[in-house]
C-alpha cells in the first residue's frame, strides 16, 4: 500500500506540475522581479531624481499642492517617500455621483523637494511585473482567480513532491552534474528541498492573501451574508465620516507625524488619508509603513480630527488570528526586507522559478527518451516542447524586450506605457511562433541567444539614450540604477552560457553510444 501511495503522489505531482507549470513559471519569474519593483521603476523613469527628504517637509509640500489643486475633493491620499520609493505621490477622489460607488481618482507624482509635479516618461515600471504576477493581464477578478487556483495547484505539487521524494534526507546534499537526466533531477530536488521553507511560505501566503475572495463561505455563514460587517470589523479605520457642509481650515498635517512617531515607538507613516478636507468633519487617518516589522499590520491606523489635530482613535492591538494573517501577508510582500534580505528573497524566488523550469524539462526529457528512435515526436510531446520553450526562454525574451522598449520608445509618444507592455506580449507571442517552426534544441538555443543579446543590450541602450549610464551611476552611488544595469548584464552573460551549453549538448548527442558509455564508466572513478 505504501508503494501505491508514493506512486499515486508521483503521478499527481507529475501531472499537476505539467498542466500548471507554464503558468506558475511566469508567475514565479514576474513575482521574483516584483521584489525589486521600486528599483525597476526608478530605472524605467530615470528622469525622476532619488532625493532624501524628511517626511515632514514632503508632507507639507503635498498639503500645499492638494490645497491648490484638489480643494473640493472628498478625499486626499498621500503616499510618503521611503528609502526605496523616493517619490511623493498624491491622489484625490471626487465624491461619487451615486452613494456606494467609487469616486473618480486622480493621481499625481510630486518632487519631494520642491512639491512641483514630476514629469517622467510614461511607464508602468516595475509595477507591471508586480500586477502581472497575480492579475495575469486579465480583467478583474478572473486573473486573481486563476493565479490563486495556480497557487493551490502549486501547494499540491509541493506536498506531493515531498511525499514522492523517498530519499529526501539521504539526498539532501546530492547534486551530480554532467550526468544528463540524473543531473536535471538532482537540480530540481536541490532547488526544491534546500529552499523549501521559502516555497511553502510563498505558496501558502498567496492563498491567504486572496482567501476572502476564493473562500468566502465562512464570512457568509458567520455574518449571515453581510460581508461588509466583516470587513468593517477587520479594518475599522476605513469607514469615512459624512461631510458637515461647513468649511473649516485643515490642520497642518506635518504636526500629526510627530504624534504618530511617538505612539508607534519610532515607526514611520506610510500613507495619510484625509477625509473631507476643508470641511468641519474632516478626519485624517495615518497608516503605518511596513518597513520596520515583519507582520503586516492590517488596518492598524491612527485617526485624527482634521481641524483640531486631536487624536480620535487608535486601532486596538491586533488579535492573534489577524496577526497570523498579517504575518503571512508581510512575509509574502517582504516590505520589511533591507537590501541583503531583499536579494535573498530574489534568489529564493529564482530558485522557485528554476524548480518549476527544471521540472518541466524533466517531464519532457523522460518521455523524449522513449521516442528517441522515431524521427517524429508525437503531437502531445511536441506541444509540451513548444510550451516549454515559449514559457521559459520566450518569457525571458519578453522581459528583456520590455526593458529595451522603455529606452527605445519616444519619450512623448502617446500611450507609451501601454506600448511597452505591448512589446512584452508581442515578443512573447513571437517566441511561441518561433518555437512552433523551429526544431526543439535549435529553438532553445535561438531564444536563449536572443534573450542574452537583449539583456546585454539593456545597459548599452541606457548609456546611448540617457545620461544615467553605468559609469555615471556607479560614481554617484545610485545603486538602484547601477544594480539594474549590472544585473541585466549578468543575466545576459548567464543566458549566453546556457545557450552555449545547450548547443554543445546537442553536438555530443551525436557521439556513438558505446563511446559515451565508456567515458561515463571512467567518470565514476574509484567509487
Amino acid at each position: 500500500m505504501k508503494e501505491g501511495f508514493r506512486q499515486a503522489m508521483a503521478w499527481l505531482h507529475t501531472w499537476a506540475g505539467l498542466v500548471f507549470g507554464w503558468l506558475l513559471f511566469a508567475i514565479f519569474l514576474t513575482g521574483t522581479l516584483a521584489y525589486f519593483k521600486d528599483e525597476i521603476s526608478h530605472w524605467m523613469q530615470p528622469e525622476i531624481p532619488a532625493r532624501a527628504v524628511t517626511s515632514e517637509a514632503s508632507l507639507t509640500l503635498a498639503q500645499e499642492y492638494l490645497q491648490q489643486h484638489a480643494a473640493g475633493a472628498s478625499r486626499w491620499l498621500i503616499d510618503l517617500p521611503d528609502a526605496r520609493e523616493p517619490g511623493l505621490s498624491v491622489r484625490w477622489q471626487q465624491a461619487p455621483a451615486k452613494p456606494g460607488e467609487r469616486g473618480q481618482f486622480t493621481e499625481k507624482r510630486l518632487d519631494p523637494q520642491t512639491g512641483a509635479e514630476v514629469q517622467g516618461r510614461e511607464t508602468r515600471g516595475g509595477d507591471f511585473f508586480y500586477r502581472f504576477h497575480f492579475q495575469l493581464q486579465m480583467p478583474y477578478p478572473w486573473g486573481r482567480w486563476l493565479s490563486t487556483i495556480a497557487a493551490m495547484v502549486m501547494f499540491v505539487a509541493l506536498i506531493s513532491g515531498i511525499i514522492t521524494h523517498k530519499k529526501i534526507f539521504k539526498d539532501f546534499f546530492t547534486f551530480r552534474p554532467r550526468k544528463g537526466q540524473r543531473s536535471w533531477l538532482d537540480g530540481h530536488n536541490a532547488v526544491g528541498v534546500l529552499v523549501l521553507p521559502f516555497h511553502l511560505m510563498i505558496t501558502y501566503s498567496s492563498l491567504v492573501i486572496f482567501m476572502t475572495m476564493v473562500m468566502p463561505a465562512s464570512i457568509l455563514a458567520a455574518y449571515e451574508g453581510d460581508e461588509r460587517v466583516f470587513f468593517d470589523e477587520v479594518f475599522p479605520a476605513s469607514s469615512t465620516p459624512e461631510p458637515a457642509g461647513k468649511p473649516a481650515q485643515l490642520t497642518a498635517l506635518a504636526s500629526l507625524l510627530e504624534q504618530a512617531h511617538e505612539r508607534w515607538s519610532g515607526g514611520g507613516v506610510g500613507r495619510l488619508t484625509v477625509n473631507n478636507p476643508g470641511d468641519a468633519n474632516a478626519s485624517v487617518v495615518l497608516v503605518r509603513d511596513g518597513v520596520d516589522r515583519v507582520v503586516h499590520d492590517f488596518g492598524s491606523a491612527l485617526t485624527f480630527n482634521g481641524v483640531t489635530g486631536q487624536i480620535l482613535g487608535t486601532t486596538p492591538e491586533r488579535p492573534l488570528p489577524l496577526a497570523i494573517a498579517g504575518a503571512f501577508y508581510g512575509l509574502h510582500m517582504g516590505h520589511f526586507a533591507g537590501p541583503v534580505l531583499r536579494w535573498l528573497y530574489f534568489i529564493c524566488g529564482l530558485a522557485g522559478t528554476a524548480m518549476i523550469g527544471t521540472g518541466l524539462v524533466i517531464w519532457l526529457g523522460k518521455r523524449q527518451l522513449k521516442h528517441a528512435k522515431s524521427a517524429v515526436m508525437p503531437f502531445e510531446l511536441r506541444l509540451v516542447e513548444v510550451l516549454n520553450i515559449a514559457s521559459m526562454s520566450g518569457l525571458l525574451v519578453a522581459v528583456a524586450a520590455f526593458f529595451c522598449a522603455n529606452r527605445l520608445l519616444p519619450l512623448d509618444m502617446a500611450g507609451r506605457a501601454d506600448w511597452e507592455v505591448n512589446s512584452f506580449f508581442i515578443a512573447w507571442g513571437l517566441s511561441v511562433l518561433h518555437a512552433m517552426v523551429r526544431r526543439g534544441r535549435a529553438a532553445w538555443v535561438d531564444q536563449l541567444v536572443l534573450a542574452a543579446l537583449l539583456f546585454c543590450a539593456v545597459p548599452l541602450l541606457n548609456a546611448m539614450t540617457t545620461p544615467y549610464h553605468l559609469g555615471a551611476t556607479l560614481i554617484l552611488g545610485d545603486w538602484a540604477m547601477a544594480g539594474f544595469d549590472l544585473t541585466c548584464l549578468g543575466s545576459g552573460v548567464f543566458l549566453a552560457w546556457a545557450a552555449w551549453k545547450m548547443q554543445r549538448s546537442g553536438q555530443t548527442e551525436r557521439v556513438p553510444r558505446k563511446q559515451r558509455a565508456q567515458s561515463i564508466a571512467l567518470d565514476r572513478g574509484p567509487y
Partner: protein, 108 residues
C-alpha cells in the same frame, strides 16, 4: 546576519560529512561510527547556535526570517560547491568557524 550565516554553513558541512557517501567523496574514506555521530551532533549544534545568533540580534520576528534566509542560502552554496569545488567547500567551512568568534564580537 553574518554570524548566523557562518554558523549555518559550518553546521551544514558537518551534517554533510556525517553521511557516508559525502564523507567518502570529500575525505577519501568512510567515517567511523564515532566520527559520524560527532559530525551529526556538531552539525545540529552549529545550526542551533546560528538560530540563537539570528534571534538575539534582531528579535524573534525578523530573526527567524533572517535565520531561514541564511539557512537556505548556505545550503544552496554548499550543494553548488560540493561537486565542482569540494576543497573550497571544506575550507570555507573551516574559515567560517574560525571567523565566527570575530563576527560574534562584532555583533554584540
Amino acid at each position: 546576519m553574518l554570524l548566523a550565516l557562518l554558523l549555518c554553513y559550518g553546521g551544514f558541512t558537518a551534517l554533510c560529512l556525517s553521511m557516508d557517501r559525502h564523507h567518502t567523496e570529500l575525505l577519501g574514506r568512510k567515517p567511523s561510527v564515532r566520527r559520524r555521530q560527532g559530525m551529526r551532533i556538531q552539525g545540529w549544534l552549529l545550526l542551533a547556535l546560528s538560530l540563537w545568533a539570528a534571534v538575539s540580534a534582531t528579535g524573534w520576528g525578523l530573526g527567524l526570517v533572517q535565520w531561514f534566509a541564511v539557512l537556505m542560502l548556505s545550503g544552496l552554496l554548499l550543494v553548488l560547491l560540493l561537486p565542482y569545488r569540494p576543497r573550497l567547500a571544506l575550507s570555507l567551512a573551516g574559515v567560517s568557524l574560525l571567523a565566527s568568534p570575530v563576527a560574534a564580537f562584532a555583533q554584540c
